[in-house]
Symmetry: C2
Subunit: 206 residues, 2 copies
DNA sequence: ACCTGAACACCGTTCAAGT
DNA sequence: ACCTGAACACCGTTCAAGT
């Protein structure tokens, strides 16, 4: 029963898509590979290590290699494209946003590379390191938050509980299928942030 | 050994501050109250129920009652104040942001009320329901994301691991104590979002 | 080098039975 | 009404011992 790191990650992704994040368990991963749970510890430091690696695998589907803006492309449109792809990568797997948001740079190399590339591109656009970092995390926080919401299917129980209490959220929940799941909405919020960021620099430079 | 719901929540908060979120365990909460774990289920539906209630208690410290903008106050400054208080509430307890971000409206009544008030105030300011909801969640996502980062103390191990690999993040991590923990930085990012939102409406109205 | 077997120290949740 | 006692079905992690 020879096992490789790769297979452990694959098995983890399989369980993620099938049973959700709480279904990703070292014991189940081991069972999937016909191996005892303890055996995994030869290939993986601990559970978080595996989750980080899964986040990496998830990102690899969209960010096999990350590149800065093209020569005549401005940073806003480039960053917008990056965010769209990031959302796409997360949406491709159940609770993908939670997995990525919970990952640390340690093993999720692509997450680190992505962050690096964003900050570097903003520096090249004339931002201070401080502001570049702030914009980067602001945007990433937004993407995480949005997609986490998007993937957290509100249970029918929750919907019906709030459906008839006269609250505004009731109205929103009722048409939830339409709201907040579209790329258009994602873009609207993103544009707000990028637009605000652009003006912040302009004020800073003048 | 009579137990009240209130005491369970209090014990939960105590464990949260002392041992962190992963230290909040129904068995430990029960031990704190000199009661068997099963006894809690008379007062609480399950663990998430308790966590939701804890999120509520946390919010109550800042939002005992939530009010919309004052008569001559514009929505941006009002919303800015709300976000500052929300951050304050979360910072007051260890991993407070994670607790609130993970809570559902079910039991965390104040979270629902807060959301309601924000959306309603934006409606009063002339936004469409759709846009009001989008701005609300965008802003909340930002606050969650920022404070979660802020409270996730990067372990010395992580810092040293990335401190000397020539990456930009290395530079940032090294001065991490200064960066990203200040209210000023929080406000900068928040202003970007609010500013972008304001312009989005102006375009919409014209 | 890499896995088994078995243990350790926990979890959340349920439920008969007690008072 | 509210708690005990005890179980059920799990966890992550460690580590001697095997091969």
């Amino acid at each position: 029963m020879k096992i490789h790191r790769e297979q452990i990650i694959e098995a983890g992704m399989l369980l993620l898509d099938r049973d959700g994040l709480e279904g990703v368990t070292l014991r189940r991963v081991a069972a999937e590979l016909h191996v005892h749970a303890g055996a995994l510890y030869w290939h993986v430091r601990n559970k978080q290590d595996l989750l980080d690696e899964m986040a990496n695998a998830l990102l690899a589907e969209q960010f096999a290699q990350v590149e800065g803006p093209a020569p005549e492309q401005d940073w806003e449109h480039w960053l917008q494209g990056i965010c769209l792809r990031l959302r796409q990568a997360m949406l491709a797997h159940r609770e993908g946003a939670r997995v990525v948001a919970g990952a640390s740079f340690g093993r999720a190399i692509l997450l680190k590379q992505l962050t690096e590339t964003i900050i570097r591109s903003l520096l090249d656009a004339g931002f201070s390191l401080h502001l570049a970092y702030l914009i980067c995390t602001t945007v990433l926080s937004y993407v995480y938050g949005f997609v986490i919401e998007e993937q957290a299917a509100p249970t029918p129980e929750i919907i019906s509980k709030h459906a008839s209490d006269g609250s505004i959220l009731a109205d929103i929940f009722r048409e939830k299928g339409n709201i907040y799941t579209t790329e258009a909405d994602f873009l609207t919020g993103l544009e707000m942030i990028l637009d605000g960021a652009k003006r912040k620099v302009m004020n800073q430079l003048s």
